[in-house]
């Protein structure tokens, strides 16, 4: 009796060990509704996952290259695919933290041409190390119930605390806020980057930000601004558009957008240098950035595919969202909205991020 129990225990332990003998593949992203959409659209639809040959472990992180740099420099790379912002992709590729990908050979050589706009004013991939994912925006939302009379419609309403009193939610880093300040100051969205990068551009943006002094609540994690708006702590907030879209479409939240002056940014995926599952990771990337996957993620979150073949699939098959509604009205890239939008410039931000962050922090500290 005792002997058979011992054998059974040993067998269970042995089974636990063999279970980890499957290639443990780690996919790292931002968490929340976004990662959930990636899980459903890329991971669960991948051949080796569906057949049970590979188990994909999903981990969350909060952006930045700190973990990747630490892993690559110590030679102990645990992450296989990382989803990151363009500015981190550029920096990471320059510092040799990511593997180089031969995207020009993918899909019979037609891959690169399908990336019509990579966010830096050009077509094709942003760097040799990162594969395209989605475009998302920093957009302003508000709860219509907070404004019984006139509703805010333009970016300058976000900065007008007299006509639309109440606090605003702003994230704790300067990207997108400087661009929005310039739009509110009267610069045409398509001209914002040249003004910002020109002489005195950042000073002009910071001068406009003085209008918000004392009326700001800062958030640092993606889910926070939605809570701030729905709890009434702030009347308007800058959010990631996909989180707002998911809340509206999947959970029935009542938010309205101010599309003017929205700032588009991208998300790319890359493989840390020295990853132990490099070949598998490349196969995964080819699948995850295929036209079908690009369209599939839009079923769960309102982010726009970077490759236009993905957008075409969505257009042809509306209603596309998984709850059975049209998703393109919530996408940032309708022709009309793009005319009022700004593409944040990742190359310029890569250069100036550290310096502007200091100026930005000084502004935040004066923001009591």
């Amino acid at each position: 009796m005792i002997k058979s129990i011992k054998v059974a225990l040993l067998a269970i332990v042995a089974l636990a060990f063999t279970a980890t003998a499957y290639a443990d593949f780690t996919f790292v992203s931002w968490g929340g509704a976004y990662t959930m959409s990636q899980q459903k659209a890329y991971i669960d639809t991948w051949g080796p996952v569906k057949s049970g040959k590979t188990k994909v472990k999903v981990e969350n992180y909060n952006g930045g290259l700190g973990e990747v740099k630490a892993q690559v420099e110590s030679g102990n790379v645990k992450w296989d695919v990382v989803d990151g912002l363009p500015v981190d992709m550029i920096n990471g590729c320059d510092e040799g933290l990511f593997e180089k990908l031969d995207m020009h050979t993918w899909e019979g050589g037609k891959y690169n041409a399908s990336i019509k706009e990579n966010g830096a004013g050009a077509s094709g991939p942003l760097s040799e190390c990162s594969a395209p994912q989605i475009f998302w925006t920093y957009v302003v939302i508000f709860d219509p119930k907070a404004f019984p009379g006139k509703k805010p419609k333009r970016m300058k309403d976000f900065f007008d605390v007299e006509k639309f009193p109440g606090k605003r939610g702003v994230h704790t880093w300067p990207q997108a806020v400087l661009e929005m300040a310039l739009v509110a100051d009267g610069v045409k969205p398509t001209k914002v980057n040249s003004v910002l990068q020109g002489e005195g551009g950042t000073d002009r943006a910071f001068a406009k930000l003085e209008d918000l002094k004392g009326h700001v609540v800062h958030w640092s994690a993606g889910a926070q601004p939605l809570e701030l708006v729905s709890s009434g702590e702030v009347v308007m907030s800058i959010v990631y558009n996909g989180r707002a879209g998911a809340a509206i479409l999947s959970e029935g939240a009542s938010f309205d957008y101010i599309w003017e002056g929205q700032v588009l940014d991208g998300d790319w995926v890359a493989i840390p240098k020295g990853s132990k599952n490099k070949a598998e990771a490349i196969e995964f990337l080819k699948h995850a950035t295929s036209c079908e996957s690009q369209a599939e993620q839009a079923k769960y979150i309102t982010y726009m595919p970077m490759r236009d073949c993905g957008t075409k699939i969505i257009k042809a098959n509306e209603p596309w969202f998984h709850t059975g509604v049209d998703v393109l009205p919530h996408m940032p890239n309708t022709k009309r909205r793009l005319k009022k939008s700004v593409f944040t410039d990742p190359v310029w931000w890569a250069d100036n991020n550290a310096e502007l962050k200091e100026q930005w922090t000084a502004w935040m500290a004066g923001n009591k």
Partner: protein, 417 residues
């Protein structure tokens, strides 16, 4: 015979007693050392070595010199009054062309800390320089990008000439080198670190004081109540202690926010009007409240264990001798709890000074303490030199405080029970 008796004591073998004693004790000492050796190695590997590695990073500036050695040789002879000579342009051109991609990427990141724009300039140049086949290089480089003609960019290289630099430490206190390696203040719009150091210090001291004021009565109750009550109280102290930090922080957000529980109760009771809801969160108040509650157990538990050892007969004796209760408490009871106050206070202070998650979530714009910047430079800007310098300064501040504390109170005066 009498001489040796005066100078040394001998054993029966004729060997000096000292030598003999040492020999027999050596074995014991070796055995003791061998027992401690694993722990010592563990401490060295996981604690001391990483700290030294961090300190080394904070002064390391070799990167540039490995990629642009010849350029820097010529740089030292430059008078900085006008654009560099064709020779410097040519040398830099050659070193950019021949540099390893990864090394130059790291170097350009470093150059970018001295002047924003170097990073993209080097990247663009590395690509476009392939088009230049032969000299003279100056005109062709300027044709590729106007920044090559901007003397500010060249001057910025002056900060990176030496393989060892105090630049990161200077940045950490809002100073910087100018192009002649003289120390100057950072431009006003970039000065953030000094105010952050003060804020961190201020919040830590305040949190320690509040924890002491709130924690002392709790520990006293715990130590003096009969067992069945003190057990219940102890559970009340420990249960929040075992709850996740983030859960507690987010709970405070819900309680303290404008439309939260606390404000709503006050409005319902008519104490404040609906438009005058108190701003208790996303500012310093919220940070202090949340951090005090989270760090309270660290004050209560050491105090409790010290108070438990104080015999109640001292107080009784003092009262018996005619002292007023307050006087007896102040003269007899409190001095005996000083070791506990020291232990609790030191623990809370050290924890508070390094905290950054709670202040960041509830402090809003006043919640960016030094930990936030260390994390920012670790993750986003990848300026590990500055990150190490900030950490090293924090370590130095703590060591100085420890030394001051030792001088005033004495380190033997800390007890944990």
């Amino acid at each position: 015979m009498s001489e040796t008796a005066k100078t040394q004591i001998l054993t029966t073998d004729g060997i000096p007693l000292k030598v003999s004693l040492k020999k027999s004790e050596r074995k014991n000492k070796i055995r003791a050392f061998a027992l401690v050796l694993p722990l010592l190695l563990f401490l060295i590997i996981t604690f001391i070595f990483p700290i030294f590695s961090m300190l080394a990073r904070s002064i390391d500036d070799k990167q540039i010199n490995t990629v642009f050695p010849k350029t820097f040789e010529i740089y030292k002879k430059w008078d900085q009054s006008q654009l560099p000579s064709e020779e410097m342009y040519a040398t830099l051109f050659n070193e950019v062309i021949t540099a390893d991609g990864r090394q130059i990427g790291k170097a350009s990141t470093r150059m970018n800390y001295s002047k924003s724009g170097w990073k993209s300039l080097i990247k663009k140049s590395k690509r476009q320089f392939k088009k230049i086949k032969e000299g003279p290089y100056k005109e062709k480089m300027i044709a590729i990008d106007k920044r090559w003609a901007n003397i500010e960019f060249w001057k910025a290289l002056g900060q990176m000439v030496d393989p060892v630099t105090m630049g990161y430490y200077l940045n950490a206190v809002d100073l910087t080198y100018d192009s002649n390696k003289k120390i100057i203040r950072q431009p006003e719009k970039r000065r953030v670190y000094n105010s952050t150091w003060w804020l961190t210090f201020e919040i830590s001291v305040l949190v320690t004081l509040f924890c002491l004021v709130l924690g002392y009565p709790i520990s006293y109750l715990l130590a003096t109540l009969p067992l069945k009550f003190s057990n219940l109280l102890m559970i009340c102290v420990l249960l929040p202690f075992w709850t996740s930090l983030l859960v507690r922080t987010v709970s405070w957000i819900i309680i303290l926010m404008q439309k939260g529980i606390f404000n709503s109760i006050l409005v319902w009771a008519g104490i404040i009007a609906d438009e005058n809801r108190m701003q208790l969160i996303y500012n310093k108040t919220g940070t202090l409240i949340a951090m005090t509650q989270i760090l309270l157990p660290f004050m209560v538990l050491p105090l409790y264990s010290v108070m438990k050892t104080i015999s109640p007969s001292y107080m009784r004796a003092a009262l018996n001798l005619g002292a007023q209760p307050m006087h007896a408490f102040y003269r007899i009871y409190m001095p005996q709890t000083i070791p506990g106050i020291s232990a609790g206070g030191l623990l809370v202070f050290v924890l508070a000074i390094g905290y950054f998650i709670t202040p960041e979530l509830v402090g809003g714009s006043e919640g960016l303490l030094i930990g936030h910047f260390i994390a920012f430079h670790l993750k986003s800007s990848l300026n590990w030199g500055l990150c190490s310098a900030l950490g090293a300064i924090l370590l130095a501040v703590m060591l100085v405080l420890y030394w001051v504390y030792n001088k005033i109170v004495g380190i033997e005066n800390i007890k944990l029970g």
